[in-house]
């Protein structure tokens, strides 16, 4: 169609009227080419209809670009093959196949965007809502047949519900209960016992001279090296005992002090020790605990001090636990009192 003249050069062919929705007031046109294919000729749009023109300003030009992109893609793919053949190298692999995929993608997208009919095309939308009659029939079917099932059999229905309820409960046994043990006291107790030696990750017992002042090491009860709940930081804050909290005077022989390494916030290992400030820092959400003050949290979201492990030094000079932890270690939970 020539815009200026309005001439439709359809070469004398049958040209079905084209519906322009929104123009006819209110009544929505049904496109004739919708629906079943019958023997009658389908509505036809002439090839030179402006809607079928490509969007490209210069078709030849666009085609050349697309040809270039496809050639580039082929090169990229081949390049990837070559790189792989040579033993592979991540950056080159990424570059070659990446360029290939991008180029083929761009070519296809350009083909669709610039060379195919530019439209615009329209499709009618049908209401989701059914007619009143259909709605009523549907509701009637559901309700009436439902009533038929239950009529004067309310008792059976209740039995059915009861049986289903039992199934619902017992099915949870294999599906959920089998998954793990009950918590019982697992969260409250650690493997530290009265008299446990303090050993390193390699199982070596710690002796009274092993740490300089300012030294820090992670310790476990023997046999539980690496255990997530038992991990404990052993620090040497001075050479003589000091008081972290009233009543804990004997817990820090020779300036050694031990705290649970499990952060009371969300359980990360409290691994960083700042000697000048005498603080333990948890790298996860930056809670800070004051070593000299019973690991009282001084910053961050941790709500409670790290539990302290009472220490003693035995006659052979080995560091040992006087007592287990006097409270659950780590983050809070409902059963913790």
């Amino acid at each position: 169609m020539n815009r200026e003249t309005g001439v439709q050069s359809d070469g004398g062919r049958i040209h079905e009227p084209v519906h322009v929705p929104g123009h006819a007031s209110g009544d929505r046109p049904i496109p004739e080419n919708h629906g079943e294919v019958s023997d009658s000729p389908l509505p036809l749009v002439a090839l030179d209809d402006p809607h079928l023109r490509p969007a490209a300003k210069n078709v030849r030009h666009t085609e050349r670009w697309i040809a270039f992109l496809i050639a580039l893609a082929a090169l990229g793919f081949a390049g990837y093959g070559a790189v792989y053949w040579q033993g592979g190298q991540p950056q080159l692999e990424g570059l070659t196949l990446g360029i290939g995929l991008l180029a083929i993608g761009a070519a296809l997208a350009a083909w669709g965007k610039y060379l195919l009919p530019r439209g615009p095309f329209v499709e009618e939308r049908h209401d989701m809502r059914s007619s009143d009659v259909e709605r009523e029939q549907m509701a009637a079917a559901v309700i009436d047949r439902g009533k038929l099932v239950m009529r004067r059999r309310g008792f059976l229905g209740k039995m059915l519900a009861g049986a289903a309820g039992i199934l619902g409960v017992v099915i949870a046994f294999p599906v959920i209960r089998s998954l793990g043990p009950l918590p019982k006291l697992a969260l409250d107790k650690t493997n530290w016992r009265k008299g446990s030696y303090l050993v390193t990750i390699h199982g070596r017992k710690i002796k009274e001279d092993d740490l300089e002042v300012g030294g820090i090491i992670t310790v476990f009860p023997p046999g539980y090296e690496g255990n997530a709940m038992d991990q404990t930081v052993l620090l040497r804050a001075s050479t003589s005992p000091f008081t972290t909290k009233a009543g804990r005077e004997t817990w820090t022989p020779k300036g050694y002090v031990a705290y649970s390494k499990v952060c009371t916030h969300a359980g990360c290992p409290v691994g960083l020790y700042q000697e000048q400030t005498q603080q333990l820092l948890c790298p996860c959400h930056q809670s800070m605990f004051d070593v000299l003050d019973g690991a009282q949290p001084v910053f961050g979201p941790a709500p409670r001090p790290l539990p302290q492990l009472p220490l003693m030094i035995d006659s052979e000079g080995y560091l040992r636990a006087q007592q287990p932890y006097d409270q659950p270690v780590g983050p809070g939970f409902w059963e913790r009192s």
Binding site: V20, D48, R53, V122, A266, E335
Partner: protein, 549 residues
Amino acid sequence: MSETATSKESTTTGQGSSSVGIGSGGSGTGARHQGRFDSATERALGWLDDRLGVGKGRSLLDKIFPDHWSFLLGEIALYSFVVLVLTGVFLSLYFVPSTKEIIYHGAYAPLRGKLVSEAYASTLKISFSVRGGMVIRQMHHWAADVFVGAIAIHMMRIFFTGGFRKPRELNWMVGVTLLMLAIVNGFLGYSLPYDLVSGTGLRIAYSIILSIPLVGSYLAFFLFGGVFPGNGIIEPRMFILHVLIVPIIIAALIGAHLFMLVRQKHAQFPGKGRTEHNVVGSPLYPTFMAKTLGLFFIVTGVLWMLGGLVQINPIWQYGPYQPYKVTYAVQPDWYMGWLDGAMRIMPSWEFTGFGHTIPLEVLLPAVLFPGLTFTLFYAWPFVEARITGDRAVHNILDFPRYRPKRTALGAAGVAFYFTLFSASATDVLANFFQVSLNTVLWSFRFLVIAVPVVVGIVTYRICKELAAMPVTDEPKRSVILSRTEEGEYVMEEASIRPGDAPDDLDPIAVPARIGAGVEDAGLDEDGLDKEDIPGELLDKVPGVRRVTT
């Protein structure tokens, strides 16, 4: 394409097949109709139609896709998922889902002789010893980040344009579920290699579950199979969730999402010829298919390039997970940042009493807050309908500027989550700006309220401003400005070229048949009769080559 249209003898597939008749029969439509049964495509379609009635599905080929860039976002998410499945299958051929400790003997020298989990060792193997494995593994990770990002931005698009309103509330809710599952599966996958950083993330996840009142410890024990880290059962569980169960649910929901989309048809922006009762754009076949296939390859190409060129999650630098070890600057993938930030700026409010503990410092930011977030997301279509009282069907989208309140609220929300996300870098920021952590912490506690308020107000103002500007329906036209001999300037409307203003045409239904046009008007392929056809017209007809002499 142009060749097919020009050559009268071409009787190939696709669009060409509808011009079969042109070649064989000449001008009559009856002849064209008989000619149809000549083509192999026709016979194949007939074969299928006899058995499955595919002919009745033609309207699907005509499904209209609005031409607006913002409609690509969902497709990007979809194609990222396709990439995740493809690369994920590759990874699962080599990955060993086990926390059993072995002595490492692989290709990465610095770790040789160290005790590592089988999961960790096999991830190193994928990275260093499987040819092409590094790219695929990094591509999988990048695709996960892009997947969640595309979903989030897609959701914002729907929100700001009111695409969630009746009749699309259900699809909005499916979308919210997809966002949630994408985040969950991303976290699960991220944890699989069992490196120091992701293991620490698992430890935090365990504590988060533990914080739930009443059932928390039971849940944690059942999920992990005991006290953290749960005797090694966590790997097969997380593995099967990650590679099978969650992806299947996601795939099914994507199916439901698209089914509803086809059934309800796309919503569209207002514009010429567009009403509540139609959709204007490009048809599925062939235009949209070509474009979207192109987009698929572009998404794949970008992800592949990222996978090859941009390092992500170098687990060999973090080391294997040991519960007592920790690295500095622990950061999860970006889509977990908002939760991490919330946990960081939360005050340490633990409740104890009546023999019980409620760890509010974890429960609030990591359980209740995301719970509330997603509840609000789910409920939003209904909340808004209640506020506005608008219960009508909407197939025409809003321009955000005409809904200043919703737009301001949405922008404030985005700002809120973005501030929380930034708060997950408190330690990094404190280091970078050389200020105390305390300063950074309190700044964020303030900013998390102030930023959304300011953003909301500014957005509201901008909307009002934009909405007050006059709009014309007239498409932009190019003009020719020229200076006359006398120094006067004259402006002329330039003649219209195809492509200048595609929307100036009235939309038509997608043609089932495309007939002959200019070519049939007594012209042959090369001997175009230039005299009879205006040159300008020739330019516009696809496949008509202009012969210059």
